[in-house]
Symmetry: C2
Subunit: 343 residues, 2 copies
DNA sequence: CTGTTAGCGCCTTCAA
DNA sequence: TTGAAGGCGCTAACAG
């Protein structure tokens, strides 16, 4: 293909050579005034800077990466960017990474393992210096790809800290306990739970925390009161409908995430019942929306900001040769709003 | 800095040379079996592929970019990834770009011009091949940076198609007209509007469309019925409170976006009124949440998918030398749900 | 069909 | 304090 007919007027090439030419120095000097200004005479440095300014020159990252072996890119893999939980995480992660001089390659896999494979491949090709896998699941053989290249990884809940692997473990039990205590304190005994997809580790963890918590309060966990959702609104809606059909329906229900809770509230309303009078509902995550549902949702907060900070921090720490902790904990806490009341 | 103490066991370098060595061919042949398989003997190709497989080799994108001059990265700048409108856009954009072999560098500016500048700079450094600026605003001097480097750009609503610039113009009037017609048909005459921040061009466009539409129906537009929000929930809430305090409050109100409408519904409820019986509400955008509010929100749909397709398409089209349209239109249409009823 | 040879833009010894 | 030279991993002529 001939690129000859491209507009060739004023197509100055913004390379280090051009800068050098203008400043009447060697490219080495230009490179140095950019990377190690201390090693260059202030006067020449000024000339160089002027030339850089004139040309609005920026070094080519690719050339830089090639020679330095460092891409200054971090990968962030999330399961569904459409779930309000993630944009906040992405935002936070980006903030922090950017501040450290890293760019972020985000990838939303949509719970699809083929896409996950694709993402991983793209990240490998871009030579990401670290990957945060915030999907609560990960194919071993993909992990290996990164490990083989000594790329630091950080996972959410999926716990096998190792050579290059950090892990963030969310203390689901803490928040769930607070929620159950709150409910029990309100006089509830028949407490239901709508889980997430059971192949998701974090969903299992949430469910497990619920079962243990309920039993700690001397309430025999009743299998019929635990139904499966999908961490989406529709799943919550369906699940709640099933719960509502029970001969003895629960007086309070915990959701595995807020989206599920939103669906549940809708189901309750559609059944002609009202939250919390007829049934109390507690969510999980505390996405921004929780504050604006009708009624505002009592939920367990899992700070995205903190998650982002720890994930990004783990990666950047993993880049240095220094030893560092491999496991990070995150607490969760109940936020009481108006979707719960006495039984 | 000495990287000597890094674990050096089995740190095979996954370069094209290593593949060549294993397959007992030259690096050129490896390159060819990757890029132009037709030019290489099937038998050797097989050997090479085997070697690639063994090493799990992927070409280094940076080296590739350096020599080809093409980064295969597209930039996507949004104003607030936390607004549910954007994740869907990002998702769609990513899908399409990925399918075309492009990676996406996403940046959320948070309506902050300093961050915008930073984003632009990062994208420049990464040598993005095109930029979609979906913020409905853009600093001229930043535009110039891309233009100078012949990087195709595509904007949303900000309309100055030119050399490397495409523009997507959303037909706000269409959907707004449908909404007003719907309301008028329901007998509403006092129709209010809660706008977005007025420095946002798309917010101005929405507001303008409303005023014109209302007048087309012979309703004198009443300044008191038009109040300003901020395209967020809280802004909608405040705005609606102001509207509610009016001596003669509107019987129906349009919102500049769905988030605003959510806030408005909350305000109405807090005032002890009910939607739509006491007041009808219409949103704009049709984010997924609209379906799950209480009541489900009547709103004007602006397809993110379509937006993503056009934006991405414009960029990729701009990459080829072929002439192409510079302006893309997008229709908007009313989706009637349950937040509107007869006056 | 395959290999040899130049760079792409930049950073980094090594000499001056 | 500066410059010259080599090479990062890869693609693209140009020869065999």
């Amino acid at each position: 293909m001939s690129g000859a007919q491209l507009s060739d007027h004023t197509v100055t090439k913004h390379t280090i050579h051009e800068v050098a030419r203008r400043a009447k120095v060697s490219i080495t000097t230009v490179s140095r005034t950019i990377n190690t200004p201390s090693l260059v005479d202030p006067a020449t440095a000024k000339r160089v800077s002027a030339a850089i300014e004139e040309l609005k020159y920026y070094p080519d990252t690719h050339a830089r990466s090639l020679v330095s072996g460092r891409s200054r890119i971090l990968g962030l893999i999330v399961s569904d960017i459409t779930n309000p939980f993630f944009p906040e995480l992405v935002q936070g992660f980006e903030d922090i990474a950017t501040r450290q001089g890293y760019d972020v390659l985000v990838s939303s896999t949509n719970y699809d393992s083929a896409r996950m494979t694709l993402s991983v491949r793209r990240m490998l090709e871009r030579k990401v210096e670290g990957v945060a896998v915030m999907t609560s699941e990960m194919d071993d053989h993909l992990i290996e790809q990164f490990a083989r290249r000594s790329v630091p990884m950080v996972f959410l809940d999926v716990g096998t800290p190792g050579e290059h692997i950090s892990n963030i473990v969310v203390d689901y039990a803490m928040g769930v306990n607070e929620a159950v205590a709150h409910l029990v304190g309100l006089g509830h005994r028949r407490i239901g739970f709508v889980s997430g997809p059971q192949d998701l580790l974090s969903a299992q963890a949430r469910r497990g925390a619920f079962v243990r918590s309920i039993e700690a309060y001397g309430i025999a966990s009743d299998g019929r009161l635990i139904v499966q959702g999908d961490h989406k609104v529709t799943g919550g809606l369906d699940a709640m409908n099933r719960l509502l059909k029970l001969p003895e329906r629960p007086t309070a229900v915990l959701a595995s995430n807020d989206l599920t809770a939103v669906g549940m509230m809708r189901a309750v309303r559609l059944a002609g019942l009202v939250v919390p009078r007829d049934i109390s509902i507690v969510g999980f995550d505390d996405i921004w929306l929780a504050e604006f549902t009708e009624p505002p949702l009592t939920t367990v907060r899992l700070s995205r900001r903190e998650l982002a900070e720890k994930a990004c921090g783990a990666l950047i720490a993993g880049l240095s040769a220094a030893p560092r902790p491999r496991e990070y904990g995150i607490e969760t806490h109940l936020v009481i709003r108006e979707s719960t009341c006495p039984a």
